[in-house]
Symmetry: C2
Subunit: 108 residues, 2 copies
């Protein structure tokens, strides 16, 4: 689903990745991280898609919330395993969403 | 591929969408738009993935470049068809990338 975010400004964390072939705990951990992120102060929503490239975007009210999430103990363990096992390469971008516009009238 | 972008700051346009079942010209137009975007001043790269949700992110040096791309005549026609035929819903977010970090050592 398209994340229902408030009026800008707010923050986006774009996580782009290429996976290894290692499946051990990957799906379960990914689901658990979404579940956990949803409980964090400042969390606004997330969007995700994967083909050869995976893109996960999480939305946050401010940078302090992003920092707190990055440093969450269980998330740190997952990041460590991501580095070692699940990701061949990744890039994280911290972004200030300045403006947005949409069309969400389901016409069909 | 993960887009090779320069040191921040730069801009990201996050386009999140849900497709209709209409296939007419969609793939060809999507490819053509990437080809065209690559010729635009200020274009830095793009990343794309789609499952139920589609996420396309294009990267730009500045907001003026994003505006010029949005107003490009051929892109305007594509946007119009997107509204009417290809997208059930979408959201566009204009973001200032403040910081990024990566791990792109292919270890496996």
């Amino acid at each position: 689903m398209i994340a229902q975010t408030p009026e800008p400004p707010y923050y986006a964390v774009i996580f782009t990745s290429v996976r290894t072939a290692v499946e051990d705990d990957y799906q379960a951990t990914a689901l658990r991280m979404v579940e956990l992120a949803e409980t964090m102060p400042g969390y606004l929503g997330h969007e995700s898609a994967r083909n050869e490239l995976g893109i996960t975007i999480s939305y946050w009210t401010d940078k302090a919330s992003i920092r707190a999430w990055k440093q969450h103990a269980e998330h740190q363990i997952a990041q460590e395993r991501g580095n070692k096992e699940w990701y061949l390469a990744y890039k994280t971008r911290i972004c200030l969403v300045e403006r947005d516009y949409d069309q969400t009238t389901y016409k069909h």
